[in-house]
């Protein structure tokens, strides 16, 4: 106790206290924060059940016939793939109006419910269906070729590492790490939000599978050089050089400066 009292006015005391506080808060949050729910995949199409679910959960914005309103687009022709993507990634229903629907922290609807709604929306007008599993797992894909397709078609918005990028007026291309292959495929197929559509004539199903394979192998390769700093390139690197690099070396210089002969 006495030893502590002597040191409480040490210049480092405030930093140590801050650090302790941060560690305790962080560890507490990590222990208590709600965990992400995982939705199982299944397929059942019960159009009537889907219509009823739609009326209670989606019709406020999209209209009771799904034909749109001033605050939500017309869903005729978007197909089951669009519903599976938007609801399967937690983007719909949107929690609040905004420039863009963010990826949901958790998916509130079960796979069956999503499939029901998708079946009803698909019945409005023909549109892209939920893709075949053959093309949505990375299996059989050529990662090298997928990388070339990705850099030419996707990297200008999503960043070559899939770390995401800024679009105009607060919109953005989300990061692509930790996204299911099926959702990547559906996004290309339906062009959600600001994204253009890459239909099967632009990028064939095999090529889409290559892109998914590339993203998966990139995920698996990790960052061989150490911490990736968000894969955001030179800006965070420069920040680290200034804050940690210069900070620590100046600390060393001060220490050396104190050591007189």
């Amino acid at each position: 106790m006495n030893a502590l009292a002597v040191r409480r006015r040490h210049p480092a005391a405030i930093f140590i206290l801050l650090l302790l506080g941060l560690i305790v808060t962080g560890a507490g949050y990590a222990a208590l924060a709600p965990k992400q729910a995982t939705a199982a995949t299944a397929s059942a199409d019960q159009i009537e059940r889907g219509r009823r679910l739609f009326l209670t959960n989606c019709a406020t914005c999209h209209g009771k016939d799904g034909l749109g309103s001033p605050v939500g687009p017309n869903l005729a022709g978007v197909g089951a793939a669009a519903v599976d993507f938007q609801m399967g990634t937690g983007r719909m229903p949107m929690a609040e109006p905004g420039v863009q629907a963010p990826r949901g922290k958790k998916v509130t609807y079960s796979a069956e419910e999503i499939a029901d709604i998708a079946a009803w929306v698909a019945s409005l007008a023909p549109g892209p269906a939920v893709p075949d599993a053959e093309y949505t797992t990375a299996e059989g894909g050529n990662a090298g070729r997928g990388g070339e397709i990705f850099r030419v078609n996707c990297a200008m918005c999503h960043n070559s590492a899939g770390a995401g990028g800024a679009l105009t007026r607060g919109k953005y291309a989300p990061k692509l790490t930790d996204v299911e292959g099926r959702h990547i495929y559906e996004a290309m197929l339906t062009g959600p939000q600001s994204m253009p559509v890459f239909n099967d004539n632009n990028i064939s199903p095999e090529s889409k599978r290559d892109v998914i394979a590339y993203l998966k192998t990139m995920d698996e390769a990790g960052s061989p050089g150490g911490m990736a700093l968000g894969s955001l390139g030179p800006v965070p690197e420069g920040l680290v050089a200034w804050v940690f690099g210069l900070g620590i070396l100046i600390g060393a210089a001060c220490w050396l400066g104190q050591k007189g002969a």
Binding site: G147, M156, S160, G170, P224, G225, P234, L239
Partner: protein, 578 residues
């Protein structure tokens, strides 16, 4: 051989003698052994002796330049390692190394060899990352060193030339860095080169000729990588090392500046001799810097070229930024509005690009190099200065420096506008508009605020010197009055607060001669006097011994702690009110 000994029995008489050798030279007497052998032939003892006894003052801020020097040495060492495997060629090849996501992809030999260094050569990735981190730290440290020199006034006579060499070093380091990160021929570096080609083309009249000359034809061509390689490993390192040597020699010749303090004058240097203290410190610091850069390179990834993929002129990646030291130039480009491009008579003048890409760096570095001369002209101070200023004692210079930092920071942040937009969930358009205004407004605000802060700090110093530190001890007098006891400063602390020069604006000389004829230089003098007034406006004078004496002997020194100037203080203390 030994048979001859028997032929001369007289030799036996000398067996007890010491062996004869040549008389040692003066140097060898001191140094002995191998060192003496070298000194006999080349005679460095005198010079080395001089250098070893050279005194350097000790302060952490004097070691910023050392960090830069050591980082540069680390770059040279690791760079040599990289040249063993790097292939500076745009020739086509298909990757078959161990990084799975790129297997079977066509790319240049330069990129393939950079991947090989990263994944298939033992220790290659670590050395590559050390090379890059050391390069970043080199420019970080030299920038910090430059700021230290600026804010303490170390650039003043007689060191103006060394300041100019420093500016050149800093500018060339940017070019060297750019050439370096353009070499691996990944998607990001190729995008940077494409931008550089655009900058060249934006030069009026000569633009397209310049770009064709540099790239040996249309972009990208095959010439740029080998050319950049020569520049990066040969030309610029040679110039950098040469200028750096001149920089260091000039420090030794002109002696190091020092912070004011007891016993430190304009004519001496108080510190430790190189041998043994400073050599140990500097040598130790080299290993600290080396160790730190090795550590950060081992745990933090830098320039992940395998993520960017091989260069191809058609794609571009989101978040394409240059390394941090080029961010401000990139930021200027991002801020310049498109309507600055004009077309007339079939020619296009792309000022929206040229101002930021071609104008900014030379103009800013030119202003930096010219500053010592401008300040000397405005202040009329032509004397030699070996004692450094505390930044607060030069409010206007400090304010100019902070305004320049604000300008630089706005441009650098503008260069990161897309990263800011996604990380802060803001609109990139709004960020850009804000920075456009901030480019002009923030430096003005920074100038004004810094100046006022400096003046306030100076006034606080004056108060502290005149009336001492508030001790927190409240004393009740016999009459029942309360006052707080102020402890006088000790002499060492006080010296720091009073040991600077008071400054006065230049007096405007009469613009006319005795006959009433206007002097030809009258206009210039007027401008100079006006600038000088601006420079020294509201200047706070150091406490004089007489003022200190007065403050100590008025008997009520503890009571007057709120007054600003000496006059007010005296008035305040005599009235007995506080």
């Amino acid at each position: 051989m030994s048979t001859t000994a028997n032929d001369r029995p007289a030799m036996g008489l000398r067996t007890g003698d010491a062996p004869v050798s040549a008389p040692p030279s003066a140097g060898a007497k001191k140094l002995g052994g191998a060192v003496g052998w070298v000194d006999d032939r080349l005679g460095p003892a005198k010079g080395v002796n001089y250098l070893m006894k050279k005194v350097f003052p000790d302060h952490w801020s004097f070691m910023l330049g050392e960090i830069a020097m050591y980082s540069m040495i680390i770059c040279l060492l690791t760079g040599v390692f990289l040249t063993f495997w790097f292939v500076p060629s745009a020739g086509h090849t298909v990757y078959d190394g161990s990084y799975v996501p790129l297997q079977g992809v066509g790319m240049s030999e330069a990129y393939a060899s950079a991947l090989n260094i990263s994944f298939d050569i033992k220790g290659g990735l670590l050395i590559r990352q050390m090379h890059h981190w050391a390069a970043l730290m080199f420019i970080v440290a030299l920038s910090a060193h430059m700021l230290r020199v600026f804010f303490t006034g170390a650039f003043r006579k007689p060191r103006e030339l060394n300041w100019i060499i420093g500016c050149l070093l800093s500018m060339l380091a940017l070019v060297e860095g750019f050439a370096g990160y353009s070499l691996p021929d990944d998607l990001l570096s190729g995008t940077g080169l494409r931008a550089a080609e655009g900058f060249m083309q934006s030069a009026p009249v000569i633009g397209s000729y310049l770009a064709y000359a540099v790239f040996d034809g249309p972009f990208p061509g095959e010439a740029i990588i080998p050319r950049l390689y020569s520049v990066h490993v040969l030309l610029l390192p040679a110039i950098l090392v040469g200028l750096f040597t001149a920089h260091i020699v000039m420090v030794a010749v002109q002696k190091h500046t020092q912070y004011p303090g007891p016993g430190r004058t304009n004519n001496n240097v108080v510190g430790f001799p190189v041998m043994p203290v400073y050599a140990a410190k500097a040598g130790g610091f080299f290993f600290i810097v080396f160790g730190f850069i090795a550590l950060i390179s081992a745990i933090v990834q830098i320039n992940a070229i395998w993520v960017y993929g091989p260069y191809d002129p058609s794609p571009v990646t989101a978040g394409s930024q240059p390394d941090w030291y080029m961010l401000w130039a990139d930021g200027a480009l991002r801020l310049l509005p498109g309507w600055l491009e004009f077309s007339a008579f079939g020619y296009t003048l792309s000022l929206n690009v040229a101002i930021g890409a071609l104008g900014l760096i030379p103009v800013v570095y030119g202003a930096m190099a010219a500053y010592p001369f401008l300040e000397a002209w405005v202040t009329g101070d032509k004397r030699e200065h070996h004692l450094l200023d505390r930044p607060r004692n030069q409010p206007t210079r400090t304010a100019i420096g902070v305004a320049a930092i604000a300008f630089y920071l706005v441009l650098a942040l503008a260069g990161s506008n897309d990263i800011l937009a996604i990380k802060l969930h803001m609109s990139i358009n709004d960020i850009t508009y804000f920075f456009r205004a901030a480019t002009f407004l923030l430096p003005i605000v920074a100038f004004w605020a810094t100046r006022r802060i400096c003046l306030s700090l100076q006034r606080a110093d004056r108060n502290l010197v005149l009336h001492g530190r508030e001790s927190g001890r409240i004393v009740q007098t016999a009459e029942g009055r309360f006052f707080e006891v102020h402890e006088p400063l000790d002499e060492y602390t006080r010296w720091k607060l009073v040991g600077f020069e008071g400054q006065e604006p230049l007096q405007l000389t009469a613009g006319t001669d005795a006959h009433g004829v206007a002097s030809p230089a009258a206009g210039k003098d007027k401008l100079r006097a006006r600038l000088s007034r601006l420079y020294f406006q509201d200047t706070v004078q150091p406490v004089t011994p007489a003022e200190l004496e007065a403050a100590h002997h008025d008997g009520h020194a503890h009571e007057a702690i709120e007054g600003g100037s000496a006059a007010e203080l005296e008035a305040g203390s005599s009235s007995g009110h506080h």
